[in-house]
């Protein structure tokens, strides 16, 4: 039986077609009502996921002026209710066309904590497969969490191995111990484990560690998945990730050295010789060299980059086990950090170097 999703939008009823995955996740549109009434109706339907528009106050048919509200008010109501009923929690995603969504919904704004994900309506079609997979993963992930009766074991939820994964970070263990509802676990995992490199890598960071292009990394996936490196825990169906420790151990065995101590070209050559692949080495975004010690994915362009041609990025409120983001000099020199949404701010420790990088010749 398909999961039931609910769409709350005062204008775009037709979005249900974009959000649904046939036979897996159906969406039903609900008309607006005063917030408390609507919250009660939503909970009664036991949805697997709820999608809200941020601006529910633009065409609020049937609502008195004093009853008009934004999506965040409804989300807050629903979250408060979940604390009392932790086995009936569900993901809430924001779906909006708001141009200045980043300003209304930024990591340091209150409303940010209410939603599992934010999607622009404009990309629902162009990124349909990705978004649908994420919605299904959220729905099934919450179903898993709801069945745990408020007991959240990180090793079990993340499908981690006690022998190989070190999850004893105080930040993480306390977050799991103290969570009163699944949405708090979801928030923690999405923010600190899925969205940030540290315990897990996405394909861009994994490729950088192996010294290959992202396209080439796809060629390696079957081999590293066979080696047990793939993450199979909560939300893994929507976000493809790999255990960082397992990947680095696997790589170190192949390279007979720490991956980051070898140039990208050497790592690519070793992999090709050992596995029979045809990977291409990652190239520095600064000087196009494939000899650089490419070791992470730039947080702006997501291409592999090296420490010596990059700067630290301001990243508040991150768990200690996450890796602080860095931005490559190429992005700095081309002002991509200014135009990124949300804007990328260079950490104060490296702020004085921005001007130096922007005026630097690419002679090394």
């Amino acid at each position: 039986m398909a999961f039931l999703g609910l769409l709350i939008d005062d204008q775009d009823k037709h979005l249900t077609a974009s959000l649904r995955t046939k036979e897996v996740l159906d969406f039903e549109w609900l008309p607006l009502q005063p917030v408390t009434k609507l919250a009660v109706e939503i909970v009664k339907k036991s949805p697997a996921i709820v999608a809200l528009d941020y601006r529910l106050d633009e065409a609020p048919e049937g609502l008195e002026a004093e009853d008009v509200y934004k999506g965040s008010a409804l989300a807050q109501h629903l979250r408060d209710g979940a604390i009392g009923e932790p086995s009936s929690d569900f993901p809430i995603v924001l779906v909006s066309t708001e141009e200045k969504l980043e300003k209304l919904y930024a990591p340091d704004k209150t409303a940010h904590d209410l939603f599992d994900r934010v999607y622009r309506k404009e990309v629902l079609t162009s990124e349909r497969d990705r978004i649908r997979a994420e919605l299904v993963a959220l729905a099934s992930g919450y179903a898993d969490l709801n069945g745990r009766n408020g007991k959240f074991d990180p090793y079990d939820i993340l499908r981690a191995e006690q022998e190989t994964e070190e999850l004893g970070f105080q930040d993480l263990t306390l977050a799991f111990e103290r969570a009163d509802a699944p949405h708090l676990i979801s928030k923690y995992i999405l923010k600190n484990i899925i969205d940030r490199p540290g315990l897990l890598f996405d394909s861009c960071d994994a490729a950088a560690r192996l010294g290959v292009t992202v396209e080439s990394f796809n060629e390696l996936i079957p081999t590293i998945d066979e080696a047990g490196v793939a993450y199979r825990g909560l939300f893994s169906d929507g976000w493809q990730r790999w255990w960082s420790d397992r990947l680095l151990d696997w790589a170190e065995t192949r390279f007979d050295a720490r991956p980051a101590s070898l140039g990208a070209n050497k790592r690519s050559a070793v992999l090709n010789a050992a596995i029979g692949t045809k990977t291409e080495p990652a190239r520095s975004t600064w000087n196009d060299s494939d000899e650089e010690l490419i070791s992470f994915a730039c947080c702006c362009c997501h291409k592999g980059s090296e420490v010596r041609h990059s700067l630290s990025v301001f990243a508040p409120n991150c768990a200690k086990f996450t890796i602080r983001p860095r931005i490559c000099w190429d992005c700095i020199q081309n002002d991509r950090h200014e135009n990124h949404e949300p804007k990328i701010i260079v950490d104060e420790t490296d702020a004085e170097l921005v001007e130096y990088v922007q005026s630097k010749d690419r002679d090394e």
Binding site: A260, S261, L293, S295, S312, D347, T349, E352, V357
Partner: protein
Amino acid sequence: MITAKEAATALRNVADKLAHAGILMAEGQGYLYEEAGRLSKKGNVIDWDMGVPKDRPLRFKAAHDKNGEKISVYLSAEGIRVNQSDHSSSPFEALDAAIVVKDKSEKVIARWHIDRANVSDEAQPGPLFHLQFGGHLPGSTDPDPVLKVPRWCHPPLEIALLCEVVAANFFHNEWDEKLRRDAGWCKAIHTFQRLCFDHYFAKMRSAVVSRDSTALGFMWADEWS
């Protein structure tokens, strides 16, 4: 010349990057931030002092000896006094720093001491700036090593440069991958390298070409004005 404010900025950046590299404990980062804040308030003065008291040493994350046993590394610097007003003299009027390594039961297993000798009528024998294994820590209850020599001729190292020594030796992978080629780290360390090395190596260059004495003799405490 390095102003107090420049030193403060560099020190804070060193602390931040060490913490983010997973090398320095949070309280050590916090102390260095405090010290940087104190220095910053002095503004553009070129004579200033800094230090890490021995009863509140910087503590680094746990390291391991060759047998895999846990060891703890501490850094203290009781008195670093900088005065750059006389270009013909070393910028350090006082320098007294130590790296201490303790085993898992917190017993001292090694101590290195880097300092500026007392220049007095009865000058402490040795190079003005020297590295010493062991060395007396005033107020320490650990027994004085029976040998106080040799005092190795060594350039002065203040807190940041000593942090790099600790990072590079006890946390090599982290230093090599996250710090060594980081532009911001290098910039901060360069600030203290200028302070510590400019005058020292100028004197050493003179020592090497001098026919009147050996380099070691030239760097002996009684040869410094």
